[in-house]
C-alpha cells in the first residue's frame, strides 16, 4: 500500500510534465485556476480555445478518447494524472467540460458515424463549445417529467419549451437537449434526444441571477426553434437511455470530493487561530476544536476515498461505490465550514465587505454558494436515494407516474 505511481504511470507523468514545461508557465504560489463558470469574456474564451487546440495537436486534449476521434486512447488513471499536472500550470479555464466530459461520450455511444464525424473533431479541438439542456422549471430531480416538446415537421422537428440551469448557453455553439416527442406514452418512453445549434432562430438565452449575486447559468427558451432530423441522437423515444449515458458521465466527472476553490480548511484553521473567543484564541476552545476536527475528518476521508477509487483505476478495475458519497459529504461540509467561519468573525461575519472581513469575504461567498452545491447534479436527497438504490440495492419507492401516459400524470 502506497500513494506512488506505478512505473507506467510515472513514465506517463514525466511525459506530460515534459510537454507542459515547454508549453505553459507554472502557477505562482497561491494562484488559482478560474473555473469556466467564473470567466466567460471573449478574450478568455479565445485563450481557452487556443490552449485546447494546442493540446489537441500534441495529443493531450482528451486522454481517454479513442485515437480515431482525436483522443489519446489512454486510460482513466492517465486522465487523472494529466489533470493533476495541468492543474499546476497557469492555463486558461476549461470551458469544454460539458462537451468533452458529457456530450462527447454520449455521441460516441449513441450517434451515427456521420454525426460523430461532424461534431467530435471540432469538440476535441475546442473549436465549438457545448452546453447541456436537460433541467426544466418543472423537471429537476424528476428529470423525466420534462415537457419541452418536439413535433415532427418534414425533415425538421419544431421545438417549444423552456430549459433552465444551462451554464454557458450564451457563448456555446451546440447544446444537447432532451425533449418530449410523445405525451401519449409513459413518461420515460416519450423522450427524444437532439443536438441543437444554439445560434439558430427561436433559441433565446436569459441569465439567472443567483443568491450569490452572480449569474453563471441561463434559462433557454425555445420558440418554434427548428432542429433538423439529422441532429437527432438515437431513435425517437429512446431519449431517456441516451440521457442516462450523459448523466452517468456527469457523475463520474463530478465525484472528486474536494471542497472547491477559494477558501479551504487551512484558511479556517488560520482564522480560528487569529480571532479571539472569551479572551483567548478561538482555536483553543474545545467546541471549536471539535467542529474543526469534524470537517478535517470528513475532508480527509473524501480524499482517501478518492485515492481508493484512483487505485481501482490504476489496477484497471471499476472503482467501488465509495465515490457516490463525495458530493453529498463535501457540499454539506462546505456549508458548515462557511457558517463557522462567519460565526468566528462575530459581527463582522455579517458583512460582505472584502476589506473588513477575513479572507476577502471568501467565507460569506462560500456560504452563499453552498446551498447550490447541495442541489446541483442531484440534491442531497436524490444522492441518498442513489446510494440506497444503486449502491445498497434497496427496492425503489412505489411510483404512480411510471406506467401511465405522461399527459395523465397529476401536476399539482
Amino acid at each position: 500500500m502506497d500513494f506512488d505511481d506505478t512505473p507506467d504511470e510515472a513514465a506517463f507523468r514525466a511525459e506530460a510534465v515534459s510537454w507542459l514545461e515547454k508549453n505553459a508557465e507554472l502557477k505562482k504560489p497561491g494562484e488559482k485556476t478560474a473555473g469556466g463558470l467564473e470567466r466567460d469574456d471573449p478574450d478568455t474564451i479565445a485563450a481557452a480555445k487556443a490552449w485546447q487546440a494546442r493540446k489537441a495537436d500534441a495529443g493531450w486534449a482528451c486522454i481517454t478518447w479513442p485515437k480515431e476521434y482525436g483522443g489519446r486512447g489512454g486510460t482513466s488513471i492517465q486522465n487523472v494524472i494529466w489533470g493533476q499536472e495541468e492543474g499546476r500550470y497557469a492555463v486558461p479555464p476549461n470551458m469544454f467540460m460539458i462537451g468533452l466530459g458529457m456530450a462527447g461520450p454520449t455521441l460516441m455511444a449513441h450517434a451515427t458515424p456521420e454525426q460523430q464525424k461532424r461534431w467530435l473533431p471540432k469538440m476535441i479541438r475546442g473549436e465549438e463549445i457545448w452546453c447541456q439542456l436537460f433541467s426544466e422549471p418543472a423537471a429537476g430531480s424528476d428529470l423525466a417529467n420534462l415537457r419541452t416538446s418536439a413535433v415532427r415537421d418534414g425533415d425538421d422537428w419544431i421545438v417549444n419549451g423552456q430549459k433552465i440551469w444551462t451554464s454557458g448557453a450564451h457563448y456555446c455553439d451546440w447544446g444537447i437537449v432532451v425533449t418530449r416527442t410523445d405525451p401519449a406514452v409513459r413518461k420515460h418512453a416519450g423522450l427524444t434526444y437532439f443536438v441543437v445549434d444554439m445560434k439558430s432562430p427561436g433559441v433565446a438565452c436569459r441569465p439567472i441571477k443567483q443568491i450569490s449575486g452572480g449569474a453563471n447559468f441561463n434559462e433557454v427558451f425555445f420558440n418554434d426553434a427548428r432542429i433538423p432530423d439529422t441532429q437527432r441522437i438515437s431513435e425517437v423515444g429512446n431519449g431517456w437511455a441516451v440521457a442516462i449515458t450523459t448523466l452517468m458521465n456527469e457523475r463520474s466527472s463530478i465525484g472528486g470530493g474536494g471542497v472547491g476553490g477559494g477558501v479551504g480548511f487551512r484558511d479556517l484553521l488560520d482564522l480560528a487561530s487569529s480571532v479571539e473567543l472569551d479572551g483567548r484564541p478561538a482555536i483553543e476552545d474545545g467546541a471549536i476544536q471539535e467542529k474543526m476536527a469534524d470537517y478535517y475528518v470528513r475532508q480527509k476521508g473524501l480524499q482517501f476515498t478518492s485515492n481508493r477509487a484512483l487505485t481501482a483505476l490504476s489496477r484497471g478495475e471499476t472503482p467501488g461505490p465509495g465515490g457516490s458519497i463525495g458530493k453529498l459529504v463535501a457540499a454539506k461540509m462546505r456549508q458548515e465550514m462557511a457558517a463557522l467561519a462567519m460565526e468566528l468573525q462575530g459581527e463582522v461575519g455579517g458583512l460582505l465587505d472584502t476589506q473588513l472581513t477575513a479572507d476577502e469575504a471568501g467565507w460569506q461567498q462560500a456560504y452563499l454558494w453552498a446551498p447550490g452545491m447541495r442541489i446541483a447534479g442531484g440534491t442531497d436527497e436524490i444522492m441518498r436515494n442513489i446510494i440506497a438504490e444503486r449502491v445498497l440495492r434497496l427496492p425503489p419507492e412505489p411510483r404512480i407516474d411510471k406506467e401511465v401516459a405522461f399527459r395523465e400524470i397529476p401536476t399539482g
Binding site: M1, D2, F3, D4, D5, T6, E9, I77, R266, L269, S273, I283, G286, Q289, E290, M292, A293, D294, Y296, V297, R298, K300, G301, L302, Q303, F304, T305, N307, R308, L310, T311, A312, L313, S314, R315, P321, G322, I325, L328, V329, E381, M383, R384, N385, I387, A388, E389, V391, L392, L394, P395, P396, E397, P398
Partner: protein
C-alpha cells in the same frame, strides 16, 4: 496510486472471515455474553493457530511474520464478528507496548507467549470516573514495586500481564506487571458489554518493571495509544459495516404498509447515511494502516482520523440499526444490543472521539500534513 490492500492481503482477510463465520457466530458471542465465561477460550486458541496474535511479530519470537496491513485486516474481521476475545488489549496494546519499549530481555521473555496466545496481555489506564492518563494518575512505581488501583481494565480478570500507566518520580510511565504474581488483587466487575470482561485491579507493592526510559514514558504511552487506536479503529470499522449489513437485510425483509420498509425513503436515507459514515471511516482507517505499516511521521494525525471516524461510524450504525428494527431491536433476544454495547464500550477505550478530536487539532497545529 496503490492505496488499497493487495490481493494476497485480501485473501488473508477472506480466510479470516471464513474462520470467524464458522467459529464465531453471533449465537456463540451470545453464549459468552450470557454466561460467566470471561472470554471465548476456544476461539482464542483457534485464532492463535491462525497466527493472528503474532500477525505483526517476527518469526524469531514465534510470530507469523506478516505485518500491520495484515493485522489491520484481521482486526476488521474480529470486529465484524464482535468476537469475545482479548485481541485488542493483548495484541494492539500490551504487545505493541513491549515492541516499542524494545527491551531485549523483556521481549525474549514475553513476546513468544503473546504471539502464541498462551499469555494474555492487557493495558490498565483508568483509575476513576473521567478522562484518564494525564496528571491525575495516582498508581505509583517505586523501587520496582507498584501500588495503586486501576479500574475498567479490559479482560483484567484473565490477563497474565498488564502494561500499567503509572507515575514514577512525578513522571507518567508505562509499567509491566505480572498479574499472577504477588501483591495483586483483582476481581471482575459488571461490564457494559458482558462479552468483554472487565476488572478492577489493586496493586499492593506488586513487583513491576518500567518500560523504556523515565523521561520518555509519556511519549511511549502516547505512541502505544496512537498505534492501538488505528488497529482498534479497524475493529470498529468491521463492526460498523456489519451493523449496516444487518440493517439492510432486516429492512428488505420487514414489511409494513404493504411493502418492504427498505423501500421507504426515511429508511433508505438512514441506510445511505450509515453507508457514508462507514465509507469515510474505511478510507481514514486505510490511511491509518498505511501510516502504521510505514511508520510514517503522519501516524499521530492518521491515528486521530481513523479513530474518530471509526468510533463515530460504529456508534451511529449500531444505534441506527437498532432503530431500523423497531420494537424487536429493543429486545434482549435480538442482537442489535450486542453491537450497541460493543460500540459504546470501544468508544470509551483509549480516549473518546471527543478527546481524539481535540488532539487532532493540537497535532495539526504542529504538523505539515495538508
Amino acid at each position: 496510486m496503490n492505496f488499497d490492500f493487495s490481493e494476497e492481503q485480501k485473501l488473508l482477510q477472506k480466510a479470516s472471515r471464513d474462520f470467524l463465520e464458522a467459529n464465531c457466530t453471533l449465537a456463540r458471542v451470545r453464549e459468552i455474553f450470557e454466561s460467566d465465561l470471561p472470554y471465548d477460550e476456544a476461539l482464542w486458541k483457534g485464532a492463535a493457530e491462525m497466527g493472528w496474535q503474532g500477525a505483526a511479530l517476527p518469526e524469531s519470537v514465534g510470530g507469523a511474520g506478516f505485518g500491520y496491513l495484515e493485522l489491520a485486516l484481521v482486526a476488521e474481521e474480529v470486529g465484524r464478528a464482535i468476537a469475545a476475545i482479548p485481541f485488542a488489549p493483548s495484541v494492539y496494546l500490551a504487545t505493541e507496548a513491549l515492541l516499542l519499549a524494545d527491551d531485549a530481555a523483556i521481549n525474549a521473555r514475553y513476546l513468544p507467549g503473546l504471539a502464541s496466545g498462551d499469555c494474555i496481555g492487557t493495558f490498565a489506564l483508568a483509575e476513576r470516573v473521567g478522562q484518564s492518563g494525564g496528571s491525575n494518575v495516582e498508581t505509583a512505581l517505586s523501587r520496582g514495586k507498584l501500588t495503586g488501583r486501576k479500574v475498567a481494565v479490559p479482560y483484567g480478570d484473565v490477563a497474565d500481564i498488564a502494561v500499567v500507566v503509572a507515575k514514577q518520580q512525578g513522571k507518567v510511565v508505562p509499567v509491566l506487571v505480572e498479574l499472577t504474581g504477588a501483591g495483586i488483587k483483582r476481581h471482575a466487575v459488571e461490564s457494559f458489554d458482558p462479552a468483554v470482561s472487565q476488572a478492577t485491579i489493586e496493586f499492593e507493592a506488586a513487583p513491576a518493571k518500567r518500560l523504556g526510559k523515565l523521561a520518555e514514558g509519556q511519549g511511549l504511552i502516547e505512541d502505544v495509544r496512537d498505534r492501538a487506536a488505528i488497529l482498534l479503529a479497524f475493529e470498529q470499522l468491521g463492526s460498523a459495516q456489519r451493523c449496516l449489513d444487518i440493517g439492510i437485510e432486516f429492512a428488505r425483509q420487514r414489511y409494513a404498509f404493504g411493502r418492504p420498509i427498505a423501500s421507504f425513503q426515511a429508511i433508505k436515507h438512514k441506510l445511505a447515511d450509515m453507508f457514508t459514515a462507514v465509507e469515510l471511516a474505511r478510507s481514514n482507517c486505510y490511511y491509518g494502516a498505511w501510516a502504521l505499516s510505514t511508520n510514517s511521521e503522519e501516524l499521530p494525525v492518521a491515528a486521530c482520523l481513523a479513530r474518530i471516524s471509526a468510533s463515530e461510524a460504529f456508534q451511529f450504525c449500531a444505534e441506527e440499526n437498532l432503530q431500523i428494527h423497531g420494537g424487536v431491536g429493543f429486545t434482549w433476544e435480538y442482537d442489535c444490543h450486542l453491537f450497541l454495547r460493543r460500540a459504546m464500550l470501544q468508544g470509551s477505550m483509549l480516549g473518546t472521539a471527543r478527546d481524539w478530536k481535540r488532539a487532532l487539532i493540537r497535532r495539526l497545529a504542529t504538523s505539515s500534513v495538508e
